[in-house]
Symmetry: C2
Subunit: 386 residues, 2 copies
């Protein structure tokens, strides 16, 4: 009830002038993608999860993603149809927009905050947009679809070319954005990539090769092939049933907890040796496996199939599922608010984002949202690769 | 020149109504303590290091420290004379203040953001202040001076009692803030403590014992004694020449780089085994050793003595000093802005904060400040123990 009231207030803000503009800090805002509506909902996790407003007109938001300006003031939203939008989280309005192609899958803000890079399927390549005037500064064509685009230290951008089995590095600190490194034959069909939390290694996952490709950014000399376990009757083969999102491969207690391609579980990989030391069985193939900021829990969703409505909580220490939640139909994403006392879980089918207390697992509030999918906290602004 | 102009604008904001209030995000603000003036200067690192304003009347700011609300909107400043102030970084004004004792050294914001805890020398203990009304919610007396106070996951507060050689844990999630754990005989005269970056272990340093005390918060069963190297003719003895600040003991590339008590260097400690694997010689006893957010550099100041004006930059990979800077008289503190492309370095004697490009080591701008000491970035709001 409180949430519905809050929402009405939020909508009023958007419709009228931003009366409350500036009356909130931007360090712990939650920005929720409303997929069918082509909008984002802005929520303040530090003000009892109050809806501050909604910003519309952001394009086709299937598989949309968000990155933030360093001050947390602006959300950059990339749509499936390559529309890049700049949303002001104080004034609660769209302030700039540019079409970067016809099919996009991800984006990254450069370390210096001056550019937003978009990874394109069509036309294949990376498009660099200047933040100051929101014009395209550079188009870097590639032979194939680009995936796993991240910002990295030293003002670099790293990504993979899905159709040419390569990993490329762009220097975003130079005026012409040169590709300073290209590694070929890294693995067959990279489909995603991420930066390790220490910002030192770029890791690519492959559809058709049973390894991870690991690039040490301190050495920048080769992409190492680290074997990845397959499981049970899938052993030795690489059928991809669903695509796990690699962003979930987070470090916790010195281990990486990685969704297994084609398997119903997580591989536990020693972050120092890159050896798989254990596996955790799950009820289905995980889509996201997100670690709570204090590294003691991993929350897992399945999004589709029989367990579309389910979230499992894995205890990092015991490596067991300690809690099973059923937030509602089609749990597409989940994200912890700053410092992890609460988790936001989107139930797409039920038009709700549920806010859970991560200690008691009780639902604190239910935020009405129209077909919510991705959820992003502004604290990502300070983290490399996010 | 630009900085001087910016400062004039900043002062105008403070004097008049906050014309620009709300026109900045709070994710990457730098808050600088002006020690003798009893004020803080607020700078936006994402707007060309522009001074937004100054807020005065914060008490005696020798050894002052700052913690932030989770949204980055408020800075909580604790003065040497136990005056706790709440500074609004949007409206640029003091919004609340309370006297928590007569001598204080540190503070922490609880994970839930509802309370601010202050560690007192006089009267000895910890004082808990409610954020909502800024009244004292609870006073927890201890026999001795309290040091090394940090917020920890699960809404805990951890600190050490300097005169009773103990480490204590408070549950800030319970109404009466009970001390849920007390470990005695952990080492002689703890003088500071910090939380490891994974938020799992609390580490105390001692004046008179040649070890670190490490409490695993996942187990909460004992404070382990981890030997700490002494060097050269100091070996085996523990004369304390200066007090290194333990906050500098940050993890970089799997190692802790720790100022050696009584020694002129850093110990390199394997974070997995807690064994000292190397030492890095320095020109003098380091005061702060701060790691760049991408973990590739450690910046070191000496603050006093012959090298009061010097900053050494250690390369984490080679463990060598790769650059020596002389920012000016009495370099009291340094802090990286979000994502580490620039470092802010305070020169107390020269009334300047220098902003360095951490790649080229050039000075980007010089911010006029009156006797600047501590510098704090709002991105600390999202980090445990800071």
């Amino acid at each position: 009830m409180r949430s519905l009231k809050a929402m009405a207030v939020g909508l009023a803000i958007v419709a009228a002038s931003p009366l409350y503009a500036g009356e909130w800090g931007t360090g712990a805002l939650m920005v929720i993608i409303e997929r069918e509506k082509g909008s984002v909902l802005v929520v303040d996790s530090t003000q009892d999860h109050k809806i501050l407003g909604r910003v519309e007109g952001l394009g086709v938001l299937q598989h949309a993603s968000i990155a933030f300006s360093r001050d947390g003031r602006y959300a950059y939203v990339i749509s499936r149809d390559s529309l890049l939008s700049k949303v002001d989280l104080i004034q609660l309005k769209l302030t700039a927009q540019v079409k970067t192609g016809s099919s996009a899958v991800g984006l990254a803000v450069t370390q210096d905050g001056r550019h937003i890079a978009v990874s394109q399927y069509k036309p294949p390549g990376v498009v660099i947009v200047r933040d100051s005037d929101f014009k395209i500064a550079k188009t870097i064509p590639t032979g194939g679809k680009t995936v796993g685009l991240v910002d990295a230290p030293d003002n670099l951008l790293v990504f993979a070319d899905m159709e040419n089995d390569s990993v490329l590095v762009i220097d975003a600190g130079k005026a012409d954005f040169p590709v300073i490194k290209k590694f070929d034959d890294v693995g067959a069909e990279p489909y995603d990539g991420f930066l390790t939390p220490d910002a030192r290694r770029y890791v690519a996952g492959f559809f058709l090769s049973p390894w991870m490709g690991v690039l040490d950014l301190w050495r920048m000399d080769k992409v190492e092939k680290i074997p990845l376990p397959a499981r049970g009757d899938l052993s030795g083969e690489m059928p991809v049933l669903k695509v796990p999102h690699l962003e979930g491969w987070f470090d916790a207690g010195g281990y990486l907890f990685a969704p297994i391609v084609g398997g119903e579980g997580l591989a536990v990989i020693d972050a120092a040796t890159w050896k798989t030391v254990d596996t955790i069985e799950l009820r289905a193939h995980p889509i996201f496996a997100v670690v709570r900021p204090d590294q003691r829990q991993i929350w897992i969703n399945y999004a589709m199939g029989k367990y579309h409505d389910t979230v499992d909580v894995v205890d990092v220490d015991s490596r067991k599922v300690i809690k099973t939640l059923t937030p509602g139909g089609k749990v597409f994403h989940l994200h912890f608010a700053l410092k992890g006392m609460v988790a936001y879980v989107s139930s797409y089918a039920d038009n709700s984002v549920l806010v859970y207390d991560t200690k008691t697992f009780e639902v604190i509030t239910r935020i009405p949202a129209q077909g919510p999918s991705g959820i992003f906290c502004t604290d990502r602004a300070g983290k490399f690769g996010l």
